[in-house]
């Protein structure tokens, strides 16, 4: 079973040299910590940064320099700043190769719900709908089941949708799964110590298990 950092570490392997990547809030943010040396990627923050760096040293925070999570950040050499319209322009034009974000539910056809729970205070979708509607490759980082113990990998999402037919891959504490174009979650890897049976039990949507599913080496 993976912890949050384990999920982030596993997702980091999907990040390839030369990619522009947008990381959502939460586990996705941690992915930046595990990108291997020599893999050159550029982090996009949708409030207007390409080439986002780490948090500033204490005392060097700049109120004018924040990321999409409203955290103070820094700029790497070679970074650029732009306005919000251009930022989503480059997202919409699919210049950002990979979006990694959290989810409340994912359906077996790749629909995602991650912004609204009926009856609870709605905070808004922020840039999530734009990101999932346009990114070529979308990886979801989330827990396999919710706090009530119910599967978050469903035949169909119950919650209001953020986007449809867009999620390509899911990494949870239990497994790595591909969402197939024809529908279904294909089990790609088991987390260390996790059995196929456990994953089956935690997956409400159509799970596809082909041959021996390797345990991930993390």
């Amino acid at each position: 079973m993976l912890d949050k950092n384990g999920i982030a570490k596993r997702i980091a392997r999907e990040v390839k040299d030369g990619m522009y990547v947008n990381l959502g809030i939460g586990i996705p943010t941690l992915v930046a910590n595990y990108i291997p040396e020599g893999v050159n990627v550029v982090l996009q923050s949708e409030n207007g940064i390409l080439g986002m760096g780490p948090f500033p040293y204490e005392g060097e925070e700049d109120a004018d320099l924040i990321n999409a999570g409203k955290q103070t950040v820094t700029l790497l050499k070679g970074s650029s700043i732009f306005d919000s319209a251009m930022s989503f322009g480059m997202i919409r034009a699919q210049k950002v190769h990979l979006t990694i974000l959290g989810a409340m539910e994912v359906s077996e056809t790749g629909d995602i719900a991650n912004w609204k729970i009926p009856g609870k205070m709605v905070k808004g979708m922020g840039g999530a709908m734009d990101l999932v509607a346009s990114a070529k490759n979308i990886i979801v980082a989330m827990q396999h089941v919710n706090k009530a113990g119910e599967s978050k990998l469903l035949p169909k999402c119950d919650l209001p949708l953020t986007g449809i037919r867009c999620v390509k891959k899911i990494v949870t504490e239990l497994a790595v799964l591909d969402v197939l174009p024809e529908g279904g979650f294909r089990l790609v890897e088991r987390a260390p110590g996790v059995t196929v049976e456990q994953i089956k039990a935690a997956t409400a949507g159509k799970l596809i298990v082909e041959g021996d599913v390797p345990e991930m080496v993390i």
């Binding site: 949708e46 207007g48 040293y57 109120a63 409203k70 319209a85 949708l161 037919r165």
Partner: protein
């Protein structure tokens, strides 16, 4: 050159009336027009529709205008971190129109580019699509979205000159740039009003033609919402 300078925020906001629609720049608390927000509170204009990515926090930014109940409707992409907002929304006092962030920014920009509507894939298949025209173009679905029509846009820039030319600083550019081009009347407050000729023409983010009134702001607090740091090595 045409001189756009006004003395202060009060003068800059002349003509904003009850019930109007205004764009307010900034992302979170970054790059918000602090002086203009204070002046709006003093002015007491009511029933405003505010187009702004966020709604500030309880005691800063647009949150202040919520406290004084001057806002009738918020058009935003994300409105967390605000207890008074939540209270007013749940009680039905405040209308809220949630718009995907990229759509929001582009609706501002398109107003400044004279393009009244445009297609975007954001929100297809979600509740955002309800009531909107869906067009399939080369095998992909798009929602038709409209450019905003706002009587005023209120933005904050780093530097500006009397011709209304603006330069933004770092991520405080955010919505300020598209909004600065998208209002029928655009008011810009700047940290530094510089002499004509000091800004490099190639470095100007918003050309002065889009700006109607500009003034030198003061006492910027520039509050940080999430102070994240790492220890010095």
């Amino acid at each position: 050159m045409i001189n756009k300078v006004v003395a202060n925020a009060d003068e800059a906001l002349k003509g904003i009336e009850d019930g109007m629609t205004i764009m307010v720049g900034g992302f979170g608390l970054c790059g918000i027009p602090e002086n203009s927000i204070s002046a709006l509170i003093k002015k007491g204009t009511k029933n405003l529709t505010c187009i702004s990515n966020n709604a500030g926090v309880d005691d800063f930014g647009l949150g202040l205008l919520l406290q004084t109940k001057q806002i009738k409707k918020m058009i935003s992409s994300y409105v967390g971190e605000n207890a008074e907002f939540e209270r007013q929304m749940l009680s039905g006092e405040l209308e809220v129109d949630l718009v995907p962030q990229g759509t929001l920014a582009t609706r501002c920009m398109m107003a400044g580019y004279g393009i009244p509507f445009f297609p975007t894939p954001a929100g297809v298949g979600t509740e955002v699509a309800i009531g909107k025209q869906v067009i399939n173009w080369k095998g992909r679905d798009y929602l038709m979205e409209e450019a905003f029509e706002a009587e005023f846009a209120i933005v904050k820039a780093w530097k500006g000159d009397s011709a209304g030319n603006l330069i933004f600083r770092s991520t405080a550019r955010n919505f300020n740039q598209p909004m600065s081009m998208g209002g029928k009347i655009t008011v810009a407050e700047v940290e530094e009003l510089v002499p004509l000729g000091e800004l490099v023409p190639d470095q100007i983010h918003t050309p002065g033609i889009y700006i109607h009134r500009i003034f030198q702001g003061s006492n910027y607090e520039k509050r940080i919402e999430q102070r994240t740091v790492r220890p010095k090595k």
